[in-house]
Each structure stands twice: as structure tokens, then as C-alpha cells.
């Protein structure tokens, strides 16, 4: 009992910090550049991603003893694609503005190597509950980097958080200016680079 508990915890905590999909494994960088101009879109993207990874891992793991080996990649893709389209339809119905801002990027979760990677590397060889936890962990690890980057970009790029002005008018009056560069994709690249550096430094790597 103690061991499984420890294993479940390790499965969850590993991808959030020590094996973070973005800052350690360097996966999913593309969408991390695109959707991190605002906190709101970053959070929705992180949540959609968590939903997709967790459930695709769960389903793939439940089927792992029946899936014929020769078509397993196709099966994984079909499961992932179905979940992504479900997430997209849901956003379009209940969060229309956000889904417009995310545009193609929700659909592109299908091509995000984190999802496929977890299905192949973990879900196929582990029981469903661990696979589900692993998915949540990876989604949260991905989402946490997205939110950190978006926090920095929105605060310094447009002086706002969640679309609400944070930097007081008096700052602007005394000559402060928003950093336009923060709104462009290269800024996300630099911030992610700095985060990787910081994490490796803290981990004593």
C-alpha cells in the first residue's frame, strides 16, 4: 500500500517539476509560444491539454491488453483526436470568445508530442489509475509553465492580468512604458529559456 501510494505521488509530481514536459523534456514548445500572450488563454489551454492527456492516457491504458500491437499508434491517435475535438466543441459552445482567441491551437493539441508520448511511453505499460494520474501530472506541468510565461508576458507586455489593469496610471505618467516585445513570440522563447535555466539551477543540475 505504502509503495503504490509513493508511486502514485511520484507519477503525479514527477512531470510537474523534475520531468516537466516543457522545461525539461522540451516538448510542446510551439503552443507555449502561441497562447501565452494572456493568462486567460494560457489557463484554458492548460486545462484542455490536461483533459486530453489524462483521458487519452486512461483510455489507452484500459485498452492496452486488447490493442493489437501493429495498429496501436492508429488507435492512440483516434482516441486523442476524438478527445481534442470534444474539447474544441465544448469550448465553442461555452467559451466562444476564448475559443476564437485560441483558434487553431486547441485542434493542434492532437499534434502535441506530449500526448502521444505519454500514451506510448507510460499508458501502454501501466494500469489505468496510474496512467490517469500521469496524464494529470503532465497536463499540470505543461499548464504551469504556460501560466508562468503568460503571467510575465501579460504583466510586462500590456500591464494587465486577466485583462485587468494592474500597473497604475501614475507609473505611465512618470514615463513607464509597456514592453511591446513581450507580446511577440520571441519573448516567450526567451522567457522559457530563462525558466529552464532557473529550474536547472534550482535542481542543482
Amino acid at each position: 500500500m505504502k509503495i503504490t501510494k509513493r508511486k502514485a505521488f511520484r507519477t503525479l509530481a514527477g512531470p510537474i517539476w523534475a520531468e516537466n514536459p516543457i522545461s525539461i523534456q522540451m516538448l510542446g514548445i510551439c503552443s507555449a509560444l502561441a497562447v501565452t500572450v494572456q493568462l486567460k488563454t494560457a489557463i484554458v489551454m492548460g486545462m484542455s491539454m490536461t483533459f486530453v492527456v489524462a483521458f487519452s492516457s486512461l483510455i489507452v491504458s484500459m485498452m492496452r491488453n486488447w490493442v493489437p500491437r501493429n495498429i496501436r499508434i492508429l488507435v492512440e491517435l483516434a482516441v486523442i483526436a476524438t478527445l481534442v475535438i470534444l474539447a474544441d466543441e465544448f469550448l465553442r459552445a461555452y467559451y466562444y470568445d476564448i475559443s476564437k482567441q485560441l483558434s487553431v491551437f486547441v485542434g493542434l493539441i492532437i499534434t502535441n508530442c506530449i500526448v502521444m508520448g505519454r500514451a506510448e511511453a507510460f499508458a501502454l505499460s501501466n494500469p489505468p489509475h496510474l496512467a490517469f494520474i500521469d496524464g494529470i501530472g503532465n497536463g499540470a506541468g505543461y499548464g504551469s509553465v504556460l501560466v508562468t510565461v503568460a503571467f510575465i508576458r501579460e504583466l510586462f507586455g500590456s500591464g494587465k492580468l486577466f485583462g485587468i489593469k494592474i500597473i497604475p496610471e501614475s507609473f505611465y505618467a512618470s514615463g513607464y512604458e509597456d514592453m511591446g516585445f513581450m507580446l511577440l513570440a520571441p519573448a516567450a522563447f526567451i522567457i522559457i529559456g530563462l525558466l529552464v535555466w532557473l529550474q536547472r539551477y534550482l535542481a542543482g543540475d
Binding site: 486488447w66 476524438t82 465544448f90 465553442r92 466562444y96
Partner: protein
């Protein structure tokens, strides 16, 4: 059972399951999605005449309320005359051109709004262009649906691009129809000075989107030129046609 037939059966069952799930989700959510799309269109109409702030959030009910209070829709023929209606209220000619009027609280027409439906580089560009009651000055341009490349042609949905249209004119210095064109690069660099008011700044890296939008807007504004001409000569026109909706004042 052989490995091959097992694979085929597994794949077919999986496809059926996924297909059924997606069909159910798509059909179940269609109503709400459709409502969102309609509300988004109304929002874009209001945005094109500056009735809502670009940064603010509005609920669907608020949008409906502002829309009902200010906007009314008409169908006109190619001469800019109102289409007659059948007894049941449907227009006689189904190929009429829709025009939206922004009527202020005093009952005066402030602006008219023309739906934009044109080809882009990858697919259709749908939006609205609003022109002031002088029949010349653009008060706003919006896009609510497109398939242009995000970050390049996709910038047509951004405020910085759309704001460039405000105050531009659709007639040239001689008073003849000139449409509105998307410049290659900055309008100030690529257009002659006297034509500057007929050009908006282009998007770097999206020359083709600009070209398609330019020719699309030209076609659309040409179709509606008869309406614009009525507004340009509104005094003269209304002396003889007092009862038409254009002369509401």
C-alpha cells in the same frame, strides 16, 4: 482469429465508437454554438459603428439589447431601392442585398453597415464594413470569421489593423468611387499622397491576404455604391423621396 482480422475488427469498432461520440457531441452542442455565432455577428455589427468598446466584455443579453435598440436591417436591390415585400413580409426578390442601419435615439441614420463576404488566401473572410451617413467616410471594419494564417493574414481580426479603416474614405479626390485598398506595407510609403485616404496600412508577411481583401472590398462596395450615392446626395434625394427609409429624420 488471425491477427489481421483482429486488427480490422478492433479498428472498426473503435472508429464506430469515436464517430458516434463525436456526432452526439456535435449535434448536442450545435444549438448553443449557433447562438454564440449569431451573438458574435451582432457584436461585430455594433463594433463597426463604435457602439461597444473593444476592450470590454458584454453578455449575450447586453449585445441583444444594444442591437435591438440601434440597428435595423433592410434589403435593397442593386439600384439601392428598398425591395418590395410580399404580403407575408418576405422580400419579393430573394437576391436582395442586406444593409444594416444604425439609427440613433433621435431616429436619424448615423451610419449604414454592409456585410463583407469575400475570398481570402485560404478561405472566406466574413465581416462588416460601416460607412457614415455622408456615404463617404468609413466608421469601422470588423472580421468575425476567416481562415488566414494566424500571426500573418490572421492579423485582419486584430484591432490595430481594423482601427486603420476608421476615418478613411471610399471616394478619391475627384469625388469618384475609389473603394478602399490595403497597401503593401505602410500606406504612407506605397500610396500617392492625395490617395492616402483610400489606403490602409497592410500586414507585413500577408501581401496576398491584403490583395484578396482589397479586391473583395472593391466588389462589395461597388455593389452597394448605389446606396452610398443616395447618402452622398441625401438632401437632393430626400426632396423627392421623403418616405423612403433613407430619409428618416
Amino acid at each position: 482469429m488471425s491477427d489481421r482480422s483482429r486488427s480490422i475488427i478492433f479498428a472498426s469498432v473503435l472508429c464506430l465508437l469515436c464517430g458516434a461520440l463525436l456526432t452526439a457531441a456535435s449535434n448536442g452542442l450545435k444549438g448553443i454554438q449557433q447562438k454564440n455565432i449569431m451573438s458574435d455577428r451582432k457584436k461585430n455589427i455594433l463594433k463597426s459603428v463604435g457602439l461597444i468598446q473593444k476592450q470590454m466584455q458584454y453578455s449575450a443579453a447586453q449585445i441583444d439589447q444594444i442591437y435591438e435598440r440601434n440597428i435595423s436591417q433592410l434589403l435593397v436591390d442593386e439600384k439601392g431601392d428598398l425591395l418590395g415585400e410580399n404580403r407575408d413580409g418576405t422580400p419579393k426578390n430573394k437576391r436582395g442585398l442586406p444593409v444594416y442601419l444604425y439609427i440613433n435615439r433621435k431616429g436619424l441614420i448615423e451610419a449604414y453597415i454592409i456585410p463583407v463576404d469575400t475570398r481570402g488566401l485560404w478561405g472566406k473572410i466574413l465581416g462588416y464594413i460601416a460607412i457614415k451617413n455622408d456615404g463617404v467616410t468609413i466608421t469601422g471594419f470588423t472580421v468575425y470569421q476567416h481562415s488566414e494564417t494566424p500571426g500573418l493574414g490572421g492579423e485582419i481580426e486584430q484591432n490595430w489593423f481594423q482601427n486603420n479603416f476608421v476615418g478613411k474614405k471610399i471616394i478619391g479626390p475627384s469625388g469618384a468611387f475609389a473603394s478602399i485598398s490595403i497597401a503593401k506595407g505602410k500606406a504612407a510609403d506605397s500610396a500617392p499622397k492625395e490617395r492616402y485616404s483610400n489606403y490602409v496600412d497592410g500586414i507585413s508577411g500577408a501581401t496576398l491576404t491584403g490583395k484578396f481583401l482589397t479586391s473583395g472590398l472593391k466588389d462589395i462596395l461597388t455593389n452597394y455604391e448605389a446606396v452610398s450615392v443616395k447618402f452622398r446626395n441625401i438632401r437632393k434625394y430626400c426632396k423627392t423621396n421623403q418616405n423612403t427609409p433613407w430619409c428618416r429624420r
